[in-house]
């Protein structure tokens, strides 16, 4: 029992009086809206009191930081030991262009790198593929071969800085390049740290960067988990991501539930396929959430996520190591909450969202730049976004104490409610036979489509507000400086790739491609073969074409 009976009695008595008063007030001064809800349309009550959390058990449900159920954080000292990692997602144009941006960010106090690749790279096509026309270097950096990768890492201390790479279907190829680059620089694999996103289930559900069907896609992921466990122990081989689920229009609860259910699917696959025990690899699983504009909903989602994952690991997978129960996550503020109209307002939105992520206990954070709704961020806009994190960390005092909102009637009640609703989804997907089966039925895709459509209608009807879009509209446009990617990037990248193809050892290259093909056919771990292949200057597409050939291609069912 969370409260003594006496407190609950007092609370009920006071509530009674207050409710009477509210009834009188509302009859003469009606509230502004009949229904108050979060951005995800979760209904929120007028007031929360001890009554709302009376069934909680302090030790069992809340506890202390660094202890099960990790509601209050994984680390016993919270941010007092170390702030979250300031990790700005960036990449544009050529490897050289991105390397320059990275060095600028490191000089300004960024503490980790995060790579945005262009669409051809993300989809496993080389810059000279007909499918890449018009896309090279536009939304991120173009990487075709190890030569590009070495240019990307030029002057970056790979034994000190950790690097996150947002890469999914071609993750094995790009991670192989990272490993090969480290070896060439004399840094042992045991010393490199970072993350590959490598979460394919959310691609089928939301982001739609897919290549092969779900089953072999998950196989390749399990290969990386196994390889990392054995050879690259400081690497996070997967970042199980809710970010894109949310950007596709899900509710916060759907983001929470689908992400964790994806995590369950990966854990089951590694155990079944690779025969590893859960504590061998679970400590290296990482997560990635969105921080949207609804402040408390986000904080509660992140708190609920930690407790939920701890329970999943302990009860469902019988993990023993507390580190297996840690949900370590990166957060990015919500791109979809930003507006092209009055773009400077985006600085404020991002600050609020970043604060929510910090109060939710994130381990790593990307803050969006004010111009990201229009183009890739300019240097100036990125600097403001990075400074936003530094101000939150070092000026506002929110890092002084751990999980400062714990014990709030509202925060604990909403945390509980979101956890319960997420469990309902998780059990429903269990009943369907797991996430791959649910995806094949179109279940998560259509749940998200419903939520996205509902939200858009609420915006169109002004039931929900977006400042500058459906309220407080100004007619004059606010012009902001925009980063443009030169059309020349594409031509230059293509000629670099052609030069690499001309100079590489054709025989060694062909042998390593055959080796990957054999590994795929025999169900062997592809990672060692990929590392060998990229050293022989195999391109991203060449490796991915082998996967397409052996495993087949997935086509978007086009659900809406």
């Amino acid at each position: 029992m969370y409260f003594a009976e006496k407190i609950l009695e007092e609370s009920r008595e006071l509530n009674q009086k207050w409710e009477d008063e509210v009834r009188r007030t509302v009859s003469s001064f009606p509230e502004q809206k009949a229904r108050w809800s979060t951005v995800s349309d979760l209904e929120i009550r007028r007031l929360y009191t001890p009554e709302d959390i009376k069934d909680m058990d302090y030790a069992r449900d809340i506890g202390v930081p660094g202890e099960y159920p990790f509601l209050r954080g994984n680390q016993s000292t919270g941010y007092r030991g170390r702030y979250w990692t300031f990790r700005m997602f960036s990449g544009m144009g050529s490897a050289r262009d991105t390397n320059e941006r990275w060095r600028m960010l490191l000089r300004q106090g960024q503490t980790g790198l995060s790579t945005a690749f262009d669409f051809p790279t993300l989809m496993g096509y080389d810059s000279d593929s007909p499918k890449a026309r018009g896309e090279v270097g536009r939304c991120g950096v173009a990487i075709d071969t190890l030569e590009d990768f070495l240019a990307l890492m030029e002057g970056i201390p790979m034994d000190k800085v950790t690097t996150s790479m947002t890469i999914n279907p071609p993750a094995t190829a790009l991670w192989a390049m990272y490993c090969a680059a480290a070896e060439l620089k004399g840094v042992p694999l045991g010393k490199i740290g970072g993350t590959i996103q490598n979460d394919m289930l959310k691609e089928f559900i939301a982001q739609k960067t897919f290549m092969c069907p779900p089953e072999p896609s998950v196989k390749l992921i399990s290969d990386t988990v196994e390889f990392g466990t054995k050879h690259v122990p400081k690497w996070n081989p997967i970042s199980i991501s809710g970010y894109h689920i949310r950007e596709a229009g899900s509710t916060a609860v759907q983001e929470l539930a689908f992400t964790l259910r994806d995590g369950i699917e990966y854990v089951e696959d590694v155990i079944r396929r690779k025969g590893l025990s859960v504590d061998d690899f679970a400590p290296r699983l990482s997560f990635f959430f969105n921080s949207h504009i609804d402040f408390f909903e986000e904080i509660c989602k992140m708190r609920a996520a930690r407790r939920l994952w701890a329970k999943v690991m302990k009860d469902r997978f019988k993990a023993q190591n507390p580190r297996s129960m840690w949900m370590r996550f990166h957060t990015q503020t919500a791109g979809c909450s930003l507006t092209a109209q009055q773009p400077y307002n985006n600085i404020v939105r991002t600050a609020v969202e970043a604060l929510a992520a910090v109060l939710g206990g994130t381990q790593s954070l990307h803050t969006n730049s004010l111009d990201e709704v229009l183009c890739l961020p300019s240097d100036h806009a990125v600097e403001i976004a990075l400074r936003t994190q530094q101000i939150i960390a070092e000026e506002t005092g929110v890092a002084n104490t751990i999980d400062p909102l714990a014990g709030s009637y509202f925060v604990e009640a909403l945390t509980n409610e979101m956890e319960e609703k997420a469990w309902e989804y998780i059990h429903k997907i269990d009943d369907m036979g797991g996430m791959i089966a649910a995806i094949e039925k179109g279940f998560p895709q259509l749940e998200i489509a419903d939520a996205a459509y509902n939200f858009q209608k609420q915006i169109d009807s002004c039931e929900k507000t977006m400042v500058g879009v459906n309220k407080y509209i100004t007619s004059e446009a606010q012009a902001i400086p925009m980063l443009e990617i030169d059309d020349k990037v594409e031509m230059e990248q293509i000629s670099r790739l052609k030069a690499v193809r001309r100079k590489r050892d054709g025989k060694a290259h062909k042998k390593s491609m055959d080796d990957i093909r054999q590994a795929c056919r025999k169900g062997k771990n592809v990672m060692p073969y990929c590392i060998e292949a990229v050293k022989n200057l195999a391109s991203v597409q060449e490796i991915c074409d082998v996967y397409r050939e052996v495993y087949g291609e997935y086509r978007d069912p086009g659900l809406y």
Partner: protein, 134 residues
């Protein structure tokens, strides 16, 4: 005689998978009483044009958020023309900078809708500017 319905194809050319807008719009067109075909992500201009002709649509709505619209949108219009199907109206949407509007209109797109455009305004535009082909 019953009015013939407007046939609309929503398509995402190129490699980007940001299909939230396309899917919301497809559903909104359906609710507005149009016949809707959504082809899914990662379509080449050639695939889109082939589908548009085969499905005999009145309108193609293209969505692109990757910056590749400068190549992809005009290419769709050009291919429709090559196939003698330039009676199909083409509109576009997504992250399209203001300075690209003119080149897209010059290429033959009839309207561009960017973030903040309401669903009603898009439906209204279609009802006003697109008539079902006999």
């Amino acid at each position: 005689m019953e009015d013939k319905k407007i046939r609309v194809m929503v398509a995402k050319p190129g490699l980007d998978g940001h299909d939230r807008g396309a899917r919301v719009l497809a559903r909104c067109f359906r609710d507005a009483g149009f016949e809707v075909i959504y082809t899914g992500c990662h379509q080449t201009p050639e695939q889109i044009v082939a589908a548009a002709i085969q499905e005999d649509v009145d309108l193609v709505g293209l969505s692109c958020l990757s910056g590749a619209h400068r190549y992809l949108f005009p290419r769709v219009v050009e291919l429709l023309k090559q196939h003698g199907a330039d009676d199909i109206t083409v509109i576009g949407g997504g992250i399209i900078p203001d300075q690209d509007f003119q080149m897209l209109y010059d290429a033959g797109l009839k309207a561009i809708f960017t973030p903040g455009a309401s669903l009603d305004s898009i439906v209204e535009w279609v009802k006003t500017n697109v008539k079902p082909m006999p």
